[in-house]
Amino acid sequence: MKLTTSAAAIALLFAVTGATADTVKIGFISTMSGPLGGTGNEASDGFKLFLDQNDGKMGGAEVEMHWEDDQAKPDVSRQAADKLISEDVDIFTGIIFSNVLLSSIKPILDSGAFYISNNAAPSQIAGKLCDQNFFAVSHQNDQLYEGLGVYMQEMNFDNVYLMAPNYPAGKDMMAGFKRHFQGKIAGEVYTAFGQLDYSAEIAQVRAAAPSTVVFFYPGGMGINFVKQYQQSGLMGEIPVYTGSHGIDQSILPAVGDAAIGVNSGAIWSEFGDNEANRVFVEGFEKAYGRIPSPYAAMAYDTARVIDAALTEVGGSIEDRDAFRTALETMDFSSIRGNFKFNTNHMPIMDYYMTVVEKDAQGRLVNALKSKVASDLEDGYVSECKISG
């Protein structure tokens, strides 16, 4: 692991010389190694980019970064969390997978630290088990599909076929979709997690003849599904839609031309028209030579949230209540557009529709089509009672 960025090295120097007052310790636990290491590396690249662009500082404070690899294993993540807790880390972030987050979140919050999520935010933590120190910058899981539900309801879609893996996130996403979509559901299929072959399910889709297919298949499953769907010849007949992150840059190059025409919701787009986003996208392409994925974008935005809140409190996180109030009340302009934290600390944000096309350089991109929802809330906010 490129453990110590220059920023962390400098911060460590300061730590040794006793300048601890203005140092903020951030623990970034993510999936860096093993087969699932791709998304974690995207996220850490996004976070690092912000530090590199800002001389390793956030809100005037020196940042001491602690990078940890969770191998996508809950117990390894817990071990990393234990280690960082013992090193008095102030802010945790980075975790990609819900089950990994859930294994570690209790001790992290019990230690008095903040968790500011760049990706995982399962329904429990948005609702009944919400916590005053847990913030999700990216999204609550369901939100990735809620905007899609809003859009398809408004456009009067009917006879829609739903497909997702049989695990909690899969159920969350489809629940999010159905929260706003009232039309007829032609079929709802849950497949085994990690399934390689979808030919049987695709044959069933053809037989059911729906108007549209909505699918949620993260990572390798998405590559398999979209390739196989296109090869079956159905792409031209029954269009497919997916939620945000559904066909992002972490899998798009691997799917290749088969992905052209896939419609996707998006909580962020690389074509988003604001200054901060341009700084991010151009900076990322320059630093890493590829188009950023939403995982990188959300980690970058998480860094910007921490930066903005630290700025509000003058670069010191010693006063936890002040930092929390700053997060809750600050005026933050996200690289996505409108953004603020809801009462359950989940984001209220806008939602866009994109479609996969080739850009001028022949690269596959999610071209931005329209904004389809504003100030989208998650569905669990009413269940959450954060005691001041």
Partner: protein, 290 residues
């Protein structure tokens, strides 16, 4: 289920089975003949796909890339066998499992160092990119038909080699009695190396053919490895015929299971099948070395 759908699903099951046979053939031969459990077989599957994806990018010709990647992976297998594995034929299964488990970790990271952690693109060959009509109202991806045909050709070739040639005779003899084979004056070491390299090439072929329909990514070999091990033991270790029949059985059961049962059941169906078969036939359907 209409007739058309039934035919299509049967084809899907058959194609999945043939694909599994391609992966399993090499594994079961190595297992049966050398009594060697090669968990790194899945890594060879992965190398095949990654190498082919790279050669496609360089040459632009799928079939050329296929041949190059099969040869390259065969060579990797040859080197592996020659340098390390041959020292482990007489060691316990446990040591073999541990050794090849170590290889999986090493190969995954080597792949990541060379190709990075983002999955690779692998387009369909141009002539097989469109689905074809196989029955009125039933379209089927032509590439999957190609897998089916290729798999059956490989199966046929293996049968001919094993049943009709001198090499095949050695292989059969080796599978049932190693000491006797060496007593016959056969250069057992050479036969083993060739069999291992051929097994690696077959794994690569399977990886390459699965490249255009599924994700070419690190770790792609592990789920396939488990399925291949399941096929191996159901068929009977060392039996190519058993592997073909078991693979098609698994393909069919998995395909129809996914359509007819909820995922909680369909995801354990093949394991259930295996446990039941082994409970009644503890050495698989076609035990090779009696």
């Amino acid at each position: 289920m209409t007739t058309g759908l039934f035919v299509e699903q049967s084809l899907n099951g058959l194609q999945l089975g043939v694909m599994l046979f391609l992966v399993t053939a090499g594994l079961t031969l190595v297992f049966g003949i050398m009594d060697f459990i090669n968990l790194a077989h899945g890594s060879l599957f992965m190398f095949g796909a990654f190498l082919a994806a790279t050669f496609v990018k360089i040459t632009g010709i799928f079939w050329l890339a296929l041949i190059l990647a099969v040869l390259a992976t065969g060579l990797i297998g040859f080197v592996m066998e020659f340098l390390v594995l041959r020292r482990f034929y007489h060691r316990s299964h446990l040591d073999q499992v541990l050794l090849t488990f170590g290889f999986i970790l090493v190969f995954n990271d080597i792949t990541r160092i060379i190709w990075g952690s983002i999955p690779l693109p692998m387009p369909l060959p141009e002539i097989l990119s469109m689905p074809v009509q196989i029955m009125p109202g039933v379209m089927y991806p032509s590439f999957r038909i190609a897998i089916l045909v290729l798999g059956l050709i490989v199966a046929l070739c293996l049968f001919l080699i094993i049943e009709r040639t001198r090499l095949g005779m050695w292989i059969r003899a080796g599978a049932s009695d190693r000491q006797m084979t060496s007593a016959l004056g056969v250069n057992v070491g050479l036969v083993f190396t060739l069999v291992f390299a051929a097994g690696a090439a077959l794994a690569a072929l399977a990886g390459i053919m699965s490249g255009p329909i599924s994700a070419v990514q690190i770790g792609m070999g592990e789920p396939i490895l488990i399925l291949a091990l399941v096929v191996t033991v159901i068929g009977g270790i060392g039996s190519v015929k058993g592997a073909l029949i078991a693979a098609i059985m698994i393909g069919m059961v998995d395909t129809f299971g996914r359509v007819m049962f909820p995922p909680a059941i369909s995801s354990i169906l093949i394991y259930l099948l295996m446990v039941l078969i082994l409970a009644f036939r503890p050495r698989g359907l076609f035990p090779a070395n009696v």
